[in-house]
């Protein structure tokens, strides 16, 4: 059959026993918004500090808190990178006590924050280990979802082969985070802007490069830390908004041309975006 109604509600349920309708007990309305990059964002306070922005992410087997947010909160990771904040309070009033989370900033999150593509700074991911403990009613067209405890404790995720999860599996969801940053916000007019792989200095009002991510298109093109991007596709660019505009205007090109200033000297770079 075809879907014929105006709203979609996803009820994500993971529980023991047969399928049942949600009970009207202990339910909490958790507020959310959809970011410019099509991520479902929840605000949360951690140990009464914040609020911080988290992505609702069933694709992330575990929950992440960025290192910057962790430092601000005063969290310390153990030798394996885990920490236990006393509580995570989701906007709407749902308190998650003593969760075990990764204190780590996936590089895609760094990239998105560097580019400012989500519209807000992202501080982490709420992953499957927490989400599985709730029946969640999610209606994308509203501004809140409903969380109901389901008394289920998910097994500790393991990696392929049954050993400790390799990083590339634990961060599947985080790999996907970068995809959204490559897509224009208007869903019917999705346009790729390529995987440039540039992190900018956030305390500068100019497009000063903090890092060209290893093996990214910008790295291969020779972009370096300290470079100042001055033009893109012939258009002067002085900030991220202007850079976005210059890039998103390119729908059918394989090369992005940029002028940069390196130690005061002008240089031109050609960044291949359609490597095959």
């Amino acid at each position: 059959m075809y879907l014929t109604t105006s709203l979609l509600v996803l009820i994500i349920s993971l529980f023991q026993g047969p399928a049942l309708g949600p009970e009207k007990v202990d339910e909490t309305r958790v507020h959310f918004r959809v970011s410019d990059s099509n991520h479902i964002l929840i605000r949360a306070k951690i140990q009464e500090k914040g609020p911080y922005f988290f992505i609702l992410d069933t694709g992330a087997p575990v929950t992440f808190i960025s290192e910057d947010a962790g430092k601000e909160i005063g969290l310390k990771a153990d030798e394996k990178g885990w920490c236990r904040p006393k509580s995570i309070l989701l906007e709407g009033g749902l308190e998650i006590n003593d969760p075990k989370v990764r204190l780590e900033t996936p590089f895609q999150l760094k990239g998105m924050n560097g580019m400012g593509l989500a519209g807000v700074e992202l501080h982490g991911l709420i992953g499957f280990d927490i989400l599985a403990k709730y029946i969640i009613h999610l209606d994308i067209s509203k501004n809140h979802m409903v969380w109901i405890p389901n008394n289920y404790t998910p097994l500790k995720p393991v990696g392929a082969g049954g050993k400790s999860a390799p990083e590339n599996l634990e961060t599947l969801g985080t790999v996907m985070k970068s995809i959204g940053s490559l897509i224009k916000p208007k869903p019917r007019e999705l346009v790729f802007i390529g995987n440039l792989g540039i992190i900018f200095e956030t305390d500068q009002k100019k497009l000063l490069v903090k890092q060209a991510l290893p093996d990214s298109a910008s790295d291969k093109a020779g972009l370096q830390k300290g470079d100042l991007i001055t033009t893109c596709q012939g258009a002067p660019v002085n900030n991220l908004k202007e850079l976005h505009k210059a890039i998103l205007g390119q729908k059918n090109t394989n090369i992005l041309e940029m002028d940069i200033s390196r130690e005061g000297k002008k240089q031109s770079l050609k960044i291949p975006l359609n490597e095959k």
Partner: protein, 145 residues
Amino acid sequence: MNSIYNYLFMLFCGAPASEMHEIPFELLKTGHMVIEAKINEKGPYRFIFDTGAPATIVSSRVGKIAEINSASKVSISIFGNGGQVTIKSVQVGDSTSSNMQAILKDHPTIAVISKYFGQIDGILGYTFFFEIRFKNRLQTKKNIP
């Protein structure tokens, strides 16, 4: 397949209760949920269900079988290959969404998971949800006098 009952429920507001669909999913030991979907009436194929993914990704293998043509809409690729496509139909359980935006790509992490847990052909992400809503809005407009 995990021994416990695993279901995704898809409920469509305003529809009769009978239009709430139970979608069984497989819970991988990695903590990922996998559901089956038919693409352009071919399959079913296994996909990671990922609310954190802002896009839907379909493997080149399925793209070829399901005759998904990316050539007309590829602009700039990501991670070295793939491109934006429009899938005529994505069927999950008894429900079908049409003209869904997606990315045709072989994701390296999906390849690793497939190696250990069987073939997985992509990720159902935000556009999976969004396309349903968008389509329905269009249909609703048709009903307005």
